[in-house]
Subunit: 327 residues, 2 copies
Amino acid sequence: MVSERQLIDYIKGAAGKVPERVEGIGDDCAVFGCREGCKQLVSVDTLVEGVHFDLTWHGPRELGHKAAAVNISDIAAMGGKPCFALLSMALPARLDFAWLTAFTEGFTAELKEYGVVLVGGDTVASPAGLLLSVTIIGEAEEGRILYRSGAGVDDVIMVSGSLGDAALGLKLCREGRQASWPQLTAAHLTPRPEVALGRHLAAAGSGVTAMLDMSDGLATDLAHMCAASGLGARINADWLPISVSARQAALDLEIDVLDSALGGGEDYRLLFTCPAAAEEDLRREVKAVLKRQIFRIGKMIPGCGVLLCGRDGERDVSFQGYEHLTR
Amino acid sequence: MVSERQLIDYIKGAAGKVPERVEGIGDDCAVFGCREGCKQLVSVDTLVEGVHFDLTWHGPRELGHKAAAVNISDIAAMGGKPCFALLSMALPARLDFAWLTAFTEGFTAELKEYGVVLVGGDTVASPAGLLLSVTIIGEAEEGRILYRSGAGVDDVIMVSGSLGDAALGLKLCREGRQASWPQLTAAHLTPRPEVALGRHLAAAGSGVTAMLDMSDGLATDLAHMCAASGLGARINADWLPISVSARQAALDLEIDVLDSALGGGEDYRLLFTCPAAAEEDLRREVKAVLKRQIFRIGKMIPGCGVLLCGRDGERDVSFQGYEHLTR
């Protein structure tokens, strides 16, 4: 089987020359001019039963929430304001109307929370599992959009919250232990897109140079940012924000919490860079305005790839996160 | 299992109040303001292996063509100009790189033919069949968009080409007789969206009042137009444009060609209405400019539902086309 990156590279080549008005291909969203001073952002994400979720532990309302949230997160990842959504469902016959109404409630409630209007979609039969494909359309003022390609040498690398919670939550669900660490389970079942923070970081004067949302795990998402920016990254294992719950659960599950933080995926935290001189102001402002903490985890360096510095030295962890097609 | 219409009605209710700037929900595309004098059209359609296509006879290049075409057709259905596409693929491991490149070639070639730029998408693993979800974004000048709700009493009902070819083509493929009537097989494998005609019919002064593209069969698609317009329709069995190939193949396959024309689906012809007084000019103009014929099949009447008049009297055929969830 071909890897996702190989396939996407091939498709990009086959798609041919992209007109000047279109940017962001390979970013979380495609970006194109919509009117004077305004850009439109658009993205699509598909969730597959048995790959991205399991209905034995993912309730319909939670799944509806998540299907909306992970797509809204793609708009947040570039600093945009989410506006419209389309929902395409491939439905197996075993799902009854009660399931579908609960799913719809969760989906539309999450959209409403972020001011997103459901404008279309389609429903088709699926002979096997459930598939949910959500298209999200957002807006941003021109010049206030953050791409993953903007990081500079010596920029500090920051993340917006703890890493690995969602991956550990998934493991707990798989073992039927949802109740043990509800914060971790919730991180997997009902992630929260960081729209307000994304808007703030993309605002004029923030100093932020590059951004994305982490869906495939830090090791892979940061490697994407490095490749797009033509740089490398050095991150420090001791600096990674790992929650107390994650540490406890990892001990209990007998897995390395660092592996979850680096490779787990689905945290939907923002990963961003800014010049070292801007870090202190940014940290203070985010704290004052959004009552949030942000965490420095490393810095951008010349070269390529993601180096992890730990107590036992340095190793390359590039792309050791979630791989969609070859795992 | 709930019907597609029931489910969509429920979702519409749950989605809540739609802002004034958004129109077209329930049409082929959602429509929203983009800039002064310009509207944006957006639609998503999912094709499911085993439901919408079968890889034993649908070659990768043809499938790529079709995935693009049926989505472009949704923009054509409202008179818009297709601009951007996003492709989401849920891929089973059995598809190799050669298959994927041929699919991509067919998909991007079809997009290019209509000036559509591929701006994004995603690829995920599928544990069962292949799913293709395409989002298409188009534009149209304000006031030049045709909705399915605009038909008036006594308007004539017209279609842009022969009906039932695709359904018969599918039957031929199923029986391994692709070569017998290649025109019918092609109608199923590689349908052609009617972008130029749609633009023409939506132009100022055309007189056209309502339009859609036929994906589920005349009986269902016209019933949707009737419901949206608050009217009924009377169509004449003898007036339906049915190709000579379709008649021959239907005889050979021992099926009623009228059933294929009414309920077959996937013809992707335009169905539209205009006042009787405008018909002659429209017909002449379409012939002169696009070298195309258009066909009158009936007229809009007070009431509701679709009446078919044949030699043995009149019968209600509303919604007797393709039903996505309950068949």
